[in-house]
Symmetry: C2
Subunit: 129 residues, 2 copies
Amino acid sequence: MSLGKKLRVTKQRQVLLDELRKVCTHPTADELYQMARKRLPRISLGTVYRNLELMAENGMIQKLEVGGTQKRFDGNVAPHSHVRCLKCGRVDDLALSLDLDMEELARQQTGYAIVRHSVEFCGFCPACR
Amino acid sequence: MSLGKKLRVTKQRQVLLDELRKVCTHPTADELYQMARKRLPRISLGTVYRNLELMAENGMIQKLEVGGTQKRFDGNVAPHSHVRCLKCGRVDDLALSLDLDMEELARQQTGYAIVRHSVEFCGFCPACR
DNA sequence: GTGTCTGCAAACCATTTGCATCGGT
DNA sequence: ACCGATGCAAATGGTTTGCAGACAC
């Protein structure tokens, strides 16, 4: 979550951040593009990708480390787990996080300097099973 | 891990499975392609992808649900966690698995029918930090 | 005014797929 | 002989990038 350089406040950036924080789903870049387009019809997909990347680097949003073909983004930067539906791909939150010293255990076992971790459950959501 | 239909025993399949079980790294499809090519120079990348997919469906190998741009495969089907280097992308094993009733907890909280889970730690490996 | 950001389009890269042929059973 | 599996090449789909003009500071 190391805060990077200061970003300029552009309409595009504001709208993307706002839309992302507004929803409880975990939209893909393309979904965010569709959402933002309703307010900024001329925004481009490239801008969406660039901003999501920059905002994630700055710790303003989270880029999810989940499976599936597309990356997903989360306006909630607090550590939490996710459940992903193997059929429809939706991702939901889960109020569960590993014990704080799990990362310490991982460091001891592997020699890695651990930055973060993620727990992902996979299964079928109520609508799909 | 629901075992699918029976697969024919082809040279390509045997070599891929053998190579994957031989290593402790978690190769990408392309890495496996390079490894297999030393023994089967005419094997195609499409065949590699098709077989990895089929063998994963049959529970013979594991397709890892980790971050990064490329999918990775694991010859070890026992449940375990992974550590991924944010710089070089290598993935190592971690002898750590969640409490058995974590999945039950996830089911209660979300209503999903949980099939599996994965824990991924991210950081910098000894060579990269 | 300067340096960042944007829209657009082309480029990229991992993965998938169609098809004619090959080979395991 | 049948039908799944293969090699090849083209197609796909998500993401990235180069560039010229626009905009935040």
